[in-house]
Each structure stands twice: as structure tokens, then as C-alpha cells.
């Protein structure tokens, strides 16, 4: 946990090579890395359906975590994040709950096994690390029977339905994928904060709770009247 920081206490600019940023709501996560040209920090994240973004402004990252990697693999993860952004900045990363498997096909394309498959902001992070050969989690240890996850997935289908770019086939596939394993934002953050990869669910869950406590402690302090 010594690599997890509240931005208010240590700015993300202190990030060495690659990590993740998490919003204050604890509901959104993305990859933090640097641009080679100006060495400035970038936040690359799947904002929503077909909406991959690269932000110069990292102030929304309330919490950030440096990945525990040696310099070489860390640099490759960062470069993969930038590559995926360059390739998909105009669309092509649908939102969905595809099964946990390999993310990239032989032509460098994001690989879908069925219509409706896609990534969430959290699985986007897993996919980027995975593309660099860094398996962050032991996906097979994650629970698949959490009612709250199914409810979340149902709500997300309804939100995606409102998108003008979404196809009926994608919505049908997304609906069929309700019940697929869900990797929650703070669990993925917890996995990045772990001392070794891949992280199993029980470790990630404990670390996720600690991250949540860090956020709550800070937000409670903020909301206290002077």
C-alpha cells in the first residue's frame, strides 16, 4: 500500500513510470503514464461505450497507485496504453462485460468472442497491463455470484442503450453477458497496489477496502466544517 497515494497528499506528477488513477467516487479507473515528447502525465481511460480518452488533466484522479514493476515492464505497459489509445481514439472499444480471457487478437485488435462483449473501465486497465505481459489478477478466483454486480451490469446496459452509436446486436450481447464476472474499480486498484502479481481475489478485496478507507478518510476531513 506504500504505492497508493491520495493526490492531495502526493500529486500524481510524482508517478515514476506507470500506474492507475481512481476518481473520488471510486467508480472510475484508468491508466496513468507519461507522454514521451513532453514527459507530462496522461490519464488514459475508457470513459464509456466507444469513448476511449486521453486526458492531460489528471486532477480528477483523487487516488493514484504506482504499479510494482521493474522499469522495463513498466515502460512497456505505459507504451501499450498509449498504443491502444492511438489505435482506438476514434472508437472501437465497446462497453461490455466480456468473459475474462485474452484481450488482443493476432492483428493487435481488441478481441471479442461474441457481439456485446466489451470492456469496462476496470477491464480496460487489466487489458492494457495484460498486453504488456503483466497479468494483474487471477481472474478465476473472482466471485461470479454477487447480486450487486448483476444489478450494476443491468444498469449499465440501460445507460449504453441511450448511446446513439450502439447497435441492437451489441445491446443484445451485453444483456446476455449479465452475470459475467465483474472486476470492480477498487478491486483492480487493490490488485495494482498488491506486492506481487497476479493478485487473487481475497488479497485484492482487502486492499480495495483499504483504498476505500483512504478515500473516505480524506472526503470526511474535507466535508468537516471549519
Amino acid at each position: 500500500m506504500d504505492r497508493a497515494h491520495l493526490a492531495a497528499e502526493l500529486p500524481p506528477a510524482e508517478l515514476r513510470i506507470v500506474g492507475v488513477g481512481i476518481y473520488r467516487s471510486a467508480a472510475h479507473i484508468g491508466v496513468l503514464c507519461r507522454e514521451p515528447a513532453d514527459k507530462r502525465l496522461r490519464f488514459i481511460h475508457l470513459a464509456f461505450h466507444d469513448d476511449l480518452r486521453l486526458e492531460d488533466d489528471v486532477t480528477k484522479c483523487f487516488l493514484w497507485i504506482e504499479a510494482k514493476l521493474e522499469d522495463e515492464p513498466a515502460a512497456v505497459v505505459a507504451a501499450q496504453a498509449r498504443r491502444v489509445y492511438r489505435k482506438y481514439q476514434r472508437g472501437g472499444v465497446p462497453y461490455g462485460f466480456g468473459p475474462y480471457s485474452g484481450y488482443f487478437g493476432p492483428q493487435g485488435e481488441i478481441q471479442w468472442t461474441a457481439p456485446g462483449n466489451g470492456l469496462t473501465c476496470a477491464t480496460f486497465v487489466l487489458a492494457v497491463f495484460d498486453s504488456a505481459g503483466v497479468r494483474l489478477i487471477q481472474g478465476e478466483t473472482w466471485p461470479t455470484d454477487r447480486g450487486e454486480d448483476k444489478q450494476f451490469q443491468r444498469e449499465m446496459v440501460e445507460l449504453v442503450r441511450m448511446q446513439s452509436t450502439v447497435t441492437a446486436a451489441h445491446l443484445k450481447g451485453m444483456t446476455a453477458d449479465i452475470g459475467q464476472v465483474r472486476f470492480r474499480v477498487l478491486e483492480v486498484g487493490g490488485a495494482v497496489a498488491a506486492d506481487s502479481y497476479p493478485t487473487d481475489f481475497s488479497t485484492a478485496e482487502v486492499l480495495a477496502l483499504r483504498l476505500l478507507e483512504m478515500i473516505r478518510r480524506k472526503t470526511r476531513r474535507r466535508s468537516r466544517p471549519n
Binding site: 515502460a75 501499450q80 498509449r82 489505435k87 493476432p106 493487435g108 498486453s131 504488456a132 505481459g133
Partner: protein
């Protein structure tokens, strides 16, 4: 002499006699030039002649310590070839990529971008083995660094 080469030479100087012998054997197996074999380390390795001009430029960039920019360029070039199913071109790069000179980061990046297309790239297994042996010779944890890139 690049910073990378200087670093590797420093590491070699710290090796014991037995470790040096092992390294020489590894280098021979990999087909890389070794000390005193008549192919000085500053000479261009024959394999480098078979790589495209853009890769020479990219290796120069990497040599100058601009690995991040080199990685972006490498990814874009290979991505383009893989998207066009030009597997033979990519395989030729894997077959002819020199081990002496490029940073370990660049070598790992090449393994990373080619991993999903591994079944179309027969030279990738040999390239992986060469990088693995180099890591071992440099006394780095090859399993931890490369395990996910096989």
C-alpha cells in the same frame, strides 16, 4: 558506445570467471559477437543488415536513451504490419533483431506487441529464447521479466 552497452560491459566485468565462460557460451549460442571473436562489438552485426531502415532509426533513438519514443514508433510500425496480416515482415524482424544494442525495454516491447500473433510468427520462439538467455546472462530475473510475454 551507447549507455546500454557500457552498462552491460560493466556488468560483465563484475562476473566471475565461470560466469564469464557461461556468458560467452550463451552469446555464441545466440549468434552474437563476443569479446575477441574477430567481430568487434562496435561493428555492425550481420543481422542488422537485414532489418528495415526505419528499425535502424528506431534503434538509434533507443540508443540515445529515448526508449519511450522508440517504443511508440515500434508499436505503430508493427501494429500496421499485423493489421495488414504482413506476418512474414514481422517474422523477419524477429529473426534479425540484434541482441546487442537495443535496450531490454525495446526487446520486451517487441515480444509484447508480437505475442497475440505468436502462432503466425515462427521466429518469435527463438527470439524469446535469445532475450531470455540475455536476461539470465545479465543476472536479471528472466522468469519474472519475460514470463508473461511467452
Amino acid at each position: 558506445m551507447s549507455a546500454n552497452v557500457q552498462r552491460i560491459l560493466r556488468e560483465i566485468r563484475q562476473l566471475t570467471q565461470d560466469e564469464r565462460a557461461e556468458l560467452r557460451q550463451n552469446m555464441k549460442t545466440m549468434g552474437a559477437p563476443t569479446e575477441g571473436d574477430g567481430r568487434g562489438r562496435l561493428q555492425e552485426h550481420p543481422s542488422q543488415l537485414a532489418i528495415p531502415a526505419w528499425l535502424h532509426a528506431l534503434l538509434e533513438l533507443d540508443n540515445k536513451g529515448q526508449s519511450d519514443a522508440a517504443l511508440d514508433e515500434l508499436f505503430d510500425r508493427i501494429d500496421e504490419m499485423l493489421s495488414a496480416s504482413e506476418y512474414e515482415k514481422v517474422d523477419s524482424i524477429l529473426a534479425n533483431m540484434p541482441l546487442e544494442g537495443p535496450s531490454l525495454t525495446l526487446m520486451m516491447a517487441l515480444l509484447s506487441i508480437t505475442r497475440p500473433a505468436g502462432e503466425h510468427l515462427p521466429s518469435r520462439v527463438r527470439y524469446f529464447d535469445r532475450v531470455y538467455r540475455l536476461c539470465t546472462a545479465m543476472r536479471r530475473d528472466a522468469d519474472s521479466l519475460l514470463g508473461g510475454l511467452k
